[in-house]
Subunit: 179 residues, 2 copies
């Protein structure tokens, strides 16, 4: 089983910060990969630096795509499940997230308006509540419920830094480089 | 019991989209109020329109503040609990979110670097995982766990529109205006 994210509708400049958040959440919450359309280099640099500092460069991958439809179609062809997060979908509170053993899941989230076709191509349209809010929040909640919180205690390989949780301060452990 | 959000460190233009997401998540996930520093008018207009269309103008309030420290201090003076969400804090996976009956909670989240003083002023520094990701995601997960999912099925008063959840489309119910 592995889980990936497909980010649709990124608008240059306007969505740079939110798409960065989407990519960071994808990495931190246990996804193996994010597919994105052509984005500003700063987003890729941020992700590269985060993986270099906090680990995960071998566990988390970014693929720049030209055609979102072919990503969805090839995912389905390989018997993966496509989940589209949208406020119009079935409320996650009324759903089981048990997708069956060993299924690969592609989570589709939009920035701007999502093409109508996505709603029919997706195996499931899931609403993290039926109110307008944030695709970053929707992705995080979906993953938190899917992994049942285990994603929040996961660690990454080759981290130069890690946090020692603290009730009232900042404690960062720095790994000494090997000679 | 009521819960409010204090948004710190908003940077004009750069954080406009993320602060909008923070405000939308606050409304959609059961908070009564958000305190923000001076933000672009477009954020206030977005929130006004969302409350006009989807309801909640009487249930959700925005207060523009000059001094974050006085908000925290007056919250504590009134025996409320101040929770700061930070990747350096105690992992939410290892915490009970039972804050006691009838306590008012202020959730503090930063955009840019948060002043050191916040870590000591807060009653609790809570990490939604100890990896870098997104304050929007952290706020959503905290609220989802705090309200145990009930926030995702809540409705708002005076909504002109509401969604009828759909597995493969968009169905919006429009309320007819009273004569």
């Amino acid at each position: 089983m592995s889980i990936a994210v497909l980010r649709l509708g990124h608008r240059l400049v306007r969505d740079d910060r939110t798409t960065t958040h989407v990519a960071l959440v994808s990495r931190a919450f246990g996804c193996k990969k994010i597919f994105m359309s052509d984005v500003d280099d700063s987003i890729l640099e941020t992700m590269k630096k985060v993986c270099a500092d906090w680990g995960g460069s071998k566990e988390f991958d970014i693929e720049i795509i030209q055609n979102w439809k072919s990503v969805i179609n090839s995912w389905k062809k390989n018997k993966g499940i496509v989940v589209h997060l949208t406020m119009y979908g079935v409320n996650i509170e009324n759903l089981s997230l048990d997708f069956g053993y060993n299924k690969n899941i592609l989570v589709v989230i939009g920035a701007s308006k999502v093409p109508k076709e996505v709603y029919s191509l997706a195996d499931m349209n899931i609403a993290v509540g039926n109110q307008p809010h944030s695709e970053i929040a929707a992705l995080a909640i979906f993953l938190d419920r899917f992994f049942q919180g285990k994603e929040l205690i996961s660690t990454f390989q080759n981290a130069k830094m890690s946090i020692i949780p603290s009730s009232h301060g900042k404690t960062v452990k720095i790994r000494k480089p090997k000679n």
